[in-house]
Each structure stands twice: as structure tokens, then as C-alpha cells.
């Protein structure tokens, strides 16, 4: 249920509504993946060979609607975004002298100035022109000449000043650091709960799942309030070390909080999956391991973890996709001045300013680049899944 859950929570920001739709691509891949061969229960069903007997026509009738919906809601928007990223649509402007009178407190001030205003046609609509610009919007997003200069001079400081690279740096660090933490914390909770006595199991599972149930933005805000300004935790820490702390003034502190929030929020998901997996561990193997004198750690290392491997790959896939399109952390922690993510960059391009300008072409280019990034990140775990599938 994860991916759908997240997409919905994104929509609670109505301002982000169109944006959430803008990039539903990876979400839906996530949904699809649950049915992919990587999931052990599905695999056993697939190998039973029943699909061979299904007639093509029946197969098409079952699959048709979902293929149609996928084309409509995934392929078509993706193609539109791709086309938009190579096009720029802009109004035709003209300059003209305009006299504007605005109120002072007692009397008006009138100024006459040359203003640049869009041309309107006879029906009162803005006249626009659309042109193909090739990779110009991509070059824009990537930083153009500044990026080339920084790259050729190997000046990473200068490179990280450019929004895209700054966002890429943070997004990658964020994704790759939270991934092992989510897996370890999730597995640890699962093992602990699995060994807990029956009486406390229910309440423990409920409490562990709470962070996952909370709407992402609310979760981020509640952690923010613990630390920002004179938050409770900050006050404790200040009393403990007798210093004055300003969490929100430090990039690294914000970065740490954002990662902490993500692990706190996602670990329960890993926990649920691992806990389910733990129920299917072969008890005979475990018992023979005990007889062979395997310690608790050895049993975990050589019996349980290999058994859970397909689930680990599954969680890795989901987490890589989810973390790479991190967004709510930036809003929740107001980290724009210190840390931004690639998704935030797309959102920023797409948000109209007060004068109504929005950079749709750059936003599309940025979205495409994000997607390419996700595909590259997923290549390794997906290959593994594919190999397992063929091997099985």
C-alpha cells in the first residue's frame, strides 16, 4: 500500500496537487513492482505454469483495461512532459508607456513608465508562440556554462552552488544514507517483535506502526517543532550542555533531522514486511542451526537474512524510488536555504510567481532528469531481481 499512501498525502497540499500528478510515474512503477517476480509468494504462483493455459483473448481482456489506464495516466503524461521539455511556450510581449496611479496614505502617486506587457488578440486572449529549443531547458537546469566551467576545472565548490547539483548532491546522500538505516532499523524491530511475548506483541506492533500512519507533512512538522527555535528537545540539549543552540541555522543539522525523520517514518514499513517474512522462516533449518551450535547472531546472519533477501531487495527498490523523490522534508523543515531536493527543484520551477510566470519547460526538463536518475539508481537492484527470476 505504500506508494498509493504517499501519493495521497502529497495531495493534501492543494497547491501541490498538480505537481503530485506531474510525477506519478515512479509511484505507479512501485505499485506494479509488488506484482513483480521479486516478491516470493508471487514467484511460486508464477512458476506453477498456469498462465500457459490462459487463452490470449482472455488474457487480453483481463489486462486490457489496466494497459489502457497505464497508457492514459502514465505513458501519455510522460510523453507530454518529454515534449514540453524540448519546447518553450511564451507570450509575445510589447513595450508601451503606461501611467499607473496608486494610493499613498493621503493622496495618490502617479508614475508613467515603460512597461513590458503581453499582446492580447481580439478575443482578449494572450498571444503565445511555441518553439522547439532542443536541449536548452536541460542546459538551463543543469547550470549551462557555469556547470561546464566548474566541471572542467574540477571545482566542486562552484558546481555545488548550482541548484541542480546542490539538489542532486543532497538527494543522493539522503537516499543512500537512509537506505541501510531503514533496512537495519526495520529488521531490528521485526526481530525484537518476533521474539517478544504474545501479550505485548499487539501493542508493540501498533506503536511501531504509528510513525508510518502519520501524514508525512505532519510528521515532519512535529519533529521540526521539537528542534526549531526553542523546541523542547533544543531546550533540553541547551540545559544539558549549557550552550545556545540554533538547529535551523546549520545546514548539517537540518540535513541530519531530515534523514532522521525519513528513517523514523519509513522504518515501520520495512518492519511490517520483514515481520511477515520472519513468519515464513523454515523452523527446521533454524532448529538444526541451533543443534549445530550456531549463536543467535549466526542464525540471523546465515539463515534468516538469506531467507529475507528478496524482501530486502524489494524494500531497497521501494525506498530508492521514494527517497529519491523526497519532497515533504524540504517543506516540513523549511530547508530551502540550506538543502533542496530534485523534486523540490521541479516544484519551484512550476510554481507561478506573483506576476504569473512559470517555467514549464525547465520544470519538465527537471522532472525528466529526476526520472533518469531514478532509473539509474534502480538498475542494480532490478537486475538482481531479474536474475533471480530467471534463475528461479
Amino acid at each position: 500500500m505504500v506508494p498509493e499512501f504517499r501519493a495521497n498525502s502529497g495531495e493534501t497540499f492543494s497547491a501541490l496537487h498538480s505537481y503530485a500528478r506531474f510525477l506519478t510515474g515512479p509511484t505507479d512503477i512501485g505499485v506494479k513492482l509488488r506484482d513483480s517476480p521479486g516478491f516470493p509468494m508471487q514467484r511460486s504462483r508464477n512458476t506453477s505454469g498456469t498462465e500457459a493455459s490462459v487463452k490470449f483473448k482472455t488474457f487480453a481482456m483481463f489486462v486490457g483495461p489496466s494497459v489502457f489506464l497505464m497508457l492514459l495516466f502514465i505513458a501519455f503524461p510522460l510523453v507530454t512532459v518529454l515534449v514540453n521539455s524540448f519546447q518553450v511556450t511564451q507570450p509575445i510581449f510589447t513595450t508601451q508607456e503606461v501611467e499607473t496611479c496608486t494610493p499613498g496614505f493621503l493622496q495618490q502617486t502617479c508614475v508613467t513608465e515603460v512597461k513590458t506587457i503581453p499582446v492580447l488578440d481580439d478575443d482578449g486572449n494572450t498571444v503565445t508562440r511555441t518553439e522547439w529549443v532542443g536541449f536548452r531547458s536541460y542546459a538551463n537546469v543543469l547550470g549551462g556554462e557555469r556547470a561546464i566551467a566548474a566541471l572542467s576545472g574540477l571545482d566542486f565548490g562552484a558546481l555545488l552552488q548550482i541548484d541542480f547539483w546542490k539538489a542532486l548532491r543532497f538527494t543522493l546522500t539522503f537516499t543512500l544514507i537512509t537506505l541501510p538505516l531503514v533496512l537495519i532499523v526495520g529488521l531490528a524491530i521485526a526481530v525484537v517483535v518476533n521474539n517478544a511475548s504474545r501479550a505485548v506483541k499487539g501493542p508493540v506492533i501498533f506503536v511501531s506502526l504509528l510513525p508510518f500512519i502519520i501524514t508525512p507533512v505532519i510528521g515532519a512538522l512535529s519533529i521540526r517543532w521539537l528542534f526549531y527555535g526553542d523546541g523542547i528537545v533544543t531546550v533540553w540539549l541547551e540545559a544539558l550542555w549549557n550552550t545556545d543552540l540554533s538547529v535551523a541555522a546549520n545546514g548539517w543539522a537540518i540535513e541530519f533531522l531530515m534523514m532522521f525523520y525519513r528513517v523514523w517514518h519509513v522504518a515501520p514499513f520495512a518492519f511490517v514486511i520483514f515481520y511477515a517474512g520472519l513468519q515464513t522462516v523454515n523452523q527446521d533449518t533454524l532448529e538444526s542451526a541451533v543443534i549445530d551450535g550456531a549463536s543467535r547472531w549466526e542464525r540471523l546472519r546465515y539463515v534468516v537474512i538469506p531467507h529475507l533477501m528478496p524482501l530486502i531487495v524489494f524494500i531497497t527498490l521501494i525506498h530508492l524510488m521514494d527517497a529519491y523523490r523526497a519532497f515533504e522534508e524540504v517543506i516540513g523543515f523549511s530547508s530551502e536555504s540550506h538543502r533542496i531536493t530534485l523534486q523540490y527543484l521541479t516544484y519551484d520551477y512550476l510554481t507561478p510567481d506573483d506576476a504569473g510566470n512559470r517555467a514549464v519547460s525547465s520544470a519538465s526538463a527537471s522532472a525528466m532528469l529526476t526520472m533518469i536518475g531514478v532509473v539509474i539508481l534502480l538498475a542494480a537492484p532490478l537486475r538482481r531481481t531479474w536474475r533471480d527470476h530467471r534463475g528461479g
Binding site: 496611479c101 496608486t102 531547458s137
Partner: protein, 406 residues
């Protein structure tokens, strides 16, 4: 989110009160309005609903909704609440109508000052002015024997004295949250140093002496602020005041009322207001003037437009002002300026007067570029000139995509 919920609750509550109470006529045509959600709008839309058949939507996201909603045919709203910043796309796309006829027929109570004229045509009716000006703790200034600062150099001196005395946590507060707020704070200071944002050919001009001076002054001021100033928006500064944590800030006039709100503030009666300080001698106060007002959609029939305008006039009458005198610096007849309003009035009537915030397409792009690129100067990643060069670069590439630059 919260604001939106409050706004929605407000809108629903208003739907209930459709009975005519203090309205001069019974409105029979359905009128919808979309505006920002702050106190003054609540007062105005409440007064409008007394005429009946009015549904008012107060939404902090109005600026992103309005251009598209007014471009629809028929327009989704008859009335819009705008400021000089947000009226630009409506004017550019021609989705609001000239109001000359309606003003002649129903606008007897309007003063000439309220009529926003573009090339002689009345395009909007202003109801209030807003500006950022000096607010300070009168008790602290009195106790320490300080003069109210009139320039930013004096602000620094006063801040140093307050820091020394240790009476508050931080001497200064500022609306410097990265993004729109920080950019606006820069705009104020930049205007104070006599800067121009862009040239006649739309090319950027912020990387100038005025730009560097503005950034340096802002940086000097941050020495006396809560180090978390990059997340500090108007509400944050207002709360810092209310909780007695700061002694001075250049804050929006529309926040003045909150200082004396018994329910929230621990400094009732202790906050005074004065004109926005000058950045340089002989210059304008380092701030910009804003107005808020109403516009009428173009894509609606004349009968609806007439009803909408009449309802709006009921919303902007002196009866409304009497009920909400301290929520804004009203331009409406019958307004009695309170003590908190003195700062805004002193700012607006200063000679030379601060400029009105420029409502142009270029300014929209410039504001965004400033908000995105300036934070790196304050985090220490860039020097002032580097940051301003980055602003110009971001502006230029956005202006090319928008079609303003070739």
C-alpha cells in the same frame, strides 16, 4: 494548511449569514469572491455577505488560483481581492474589467485616492495600504534611554546597546525566511539604497553598488538576530514580539494589531511604531508601499458585475471600518488611525516617499530569483557579488524562458 481550514470554516460560516442585516440593498445575483485570508479581508467579506447571495473564499493560496480562475469563461469568481503584487497577471491577461462606469454609478463614497488607474482607466479599488515599518519595544527604549532609530546605522547602534543590556534574547527580528520573504527584505533595503531592479530593456541590474550595500547591511543586522532567521516569516517575527524575545523589527503594518491582542501577546501596550528607517541619508525609507483592494472579473455578464461591485461597496463602507478599525491601515472614509498606525502613516507620507512595489512581469521573476539565490550569501557560501551575479543569471534564464528577454 491551517489557514486554509480556517478560511474554509470562515467561508462556510459566512454562507450561513445570508440574511440582510446592515446592507443598503437586497442582493439577488450570486456573487463569488476569492481573496487572501488575513483579518482585513475577513472584515470586508463579512460586511459583503450581509447583502445576501455572497459566497466568499478566503485562501492564502489565492495568488496561484486567481489568474487561472479569472481566465475561465465565465470567470469562476466575480470579485477578486488583490494587492499590487498579485494584480499583475490579471492586468497582463486582461481578465479584469475597467470600473469607470460602476464607480460613477455606485462609488459615491470612494475617495479619489482609492481608485487604481492604469492609463486613466480605473482597474481596481484599493481598500488599505500596507508597508513594512519599524516596530519597537517602547519600555525597553525608555529604560535604556535610547532614541527611536531613523536610519539603519542607528538601528545597529541601538541593537548593540540592547544586546549589551541583555534585556531581551535578541535585539532584532526580521522577515528573512528564504524565498519570498527574504527577497522582499532585500527589495526594501535595495530601494533604500536607491537601486533599480532591472534596466529598460529588461536586463537585470541588481548586481550594483546598491545591491552589495543592501546585502552588507542585512548581514550586519543579522548579527543581532536569532541565528535561525532564514526560517523566520512574518508570523514568526510577530510571535517573537508577542513573547518578548525581540526589541525591534521592520514588520508589516497589518501585524500591528496582534501586538496588542490580550489573548496572545505578553507585551500589550509596550510596542510602538515608527517610520521605516532610511538606508542612506537623503534616501527614501527602506521599504515598499503596498495596497490591497478589489477587482471585478471581465468574463462575467454585466448584471453580475454590477451586483458584485455594489456588494463590494457595501463591504468597503465606513460601517465595516468602524467594526474593524485596527486590523488595517484603511483608505476608507471613517478610519481613525490608532497609535500602531502612526509608523505606517509616517512611512507613507515621508519625503521623499518610498516607491510602491512594482507590479511588472520582470519584478515577479526578479523576486523569485532573489528568493532562491540570496540565502547562499547568508549561509556564507557566496560573497555578496557572487550571490548577486547568481541572481542576475537566474533572472536572465527565467526571463528568456518567459519571453521577456531574447
Amino acid at each position: 494548511m491551517l489557514m486554509k481550514k480556517l478560511a474554509l470554516a470562515g467561508a462556510v460560516a459566512m454562507l450561513g449569514t445570508t440574511s440582510a442585516m446592515a446592507c443598503a440593498f437586497q442582493n439577488e445575483v450570486e456573487v463569488k469572491s476569492l481573496s487572501a485570508g488575513f483579518e482585513a479581508w475577513k472584515a470586508v467579506t463579512d460586511a459583503m455577505s450581509e447583502c445576501g447571495n455572497v459566497s466568499a473564499e478566503l485562501d492564502q493560496e489565492f495568488r496561484t488560483k486567481q489568474p487561472a480562475a479569472f481566465a475561465a469563461n465565465p470567470s469562476l469568481y466575480a470579485l477578486g481581492g488583490v494587492s499590487n503584487g498579485t494584480v499583475t497577471p490579471l492586468l497582463n491577461e486582461g481578465t479584469i474589467r475597467p470600473l469607470d462606469d460602476l464607480v460613477e454609478a455606485y462609488g459615491q463614497n470612494l475617495s479619489p485616492n482609492q481608485l487604481i488607474r492604469i492609463d486613466g482607466q480605473i482597474m481596481a479599488i484599493a481598500m488599505m495600504v500596507n508597508t513594512q515599518h519599524m516596530m519597537y519595544r517602547t519600555d525597553i527604549f525608555e529604560e535604556l534611554g535610547l532614541e527611536v532609530p531613523t536610519t539603519y546605522d542607528e538601528v545597529l547602534t541601538a541593537a548593540a546597546a540592547i544586546q549589551e543590556a541583555g534585556v531581551v534574547e535578541y535585539p532584532l527580528g526580521a522577515t528573512m525566511k528564504s524565498g519570498w520573504n527574504l527577497a522582499q527584505d532585500f527589495n526594501n533595503m535595495f530601494v533604500g539604497f536607491g537601486g533599480d531592479f532591472y534596466n529598460d530593456d529588461s536586463t537585470p541590474a541588481v548586481n550594483s553598488e546598491a545591491g552589495v550595500k543592501a546585502l552588507e547591511m542585512m548581514k550586519a543586522l543579522t548579527e543581532y538576530m536569532d541565528p535561525e532567521y532564514l526560517v523566520s516569516d512574518s508570523t514568526y517575527v510577530q510571535q517573537q514580539f508577542q513573547q518578548g524575545k525581540i526589541a525591534m523589527a521592520n514588520l508589516w503594518a497589518s501585524r500591528g494589531g496582534a501586538m496588542n491582542d490580550e489573548a496572545e501577546s505578553s507585551v500589550v501596550g509596550k510596542v510602538g511604531s515608527a517610520a521605516a528607517p532610511l538606508a542612506m541619508a537623503g534616501g527614501v525609507p527602506a521599504t515598499t508601499l503596498w495596497w490591497d483592494g478589489i477587482v471585478v472579473a471581465k468574463n462575467i455578464d454585466d448584471a453580475t458585475a454590477e451586483a458584485a461591485f455594489r456588494v463590494a461597496m457595501e463591504g468597503l463602507d465606513s460601517e465595516m471600518v468602524q467594526g474593524a478599525n485596527d486590523t488595517a491601515i484603511w483608505l476608507v472614509e471613517g478610519y481613525q488611525p490608532s497609535d500602531m498606525a502612526q509608523g505606517a502613516i509616517a512611512t507613507a507620507t515621508a519625503q521623499p516617499a518610498p516607491p510602491s512595489y512594482p507590479s511588472t512581469s520582470q519584478m515577479g521573476l526578479m523576486h523569485t530569483a532573489l528568493g532562491n539565490e540570496l540565502p547562499s550569501f547568508f549561509t556564507g557560501d557566496r560573497t555578496a557579488t557572487e550571490a548577486l551575479a547568481a541572481v542576475e543569471e537566474a533572472y536572465s534564464s527565467a526571463a528568456k524562458e518567459a519571453g521577456l528577454l531574447q
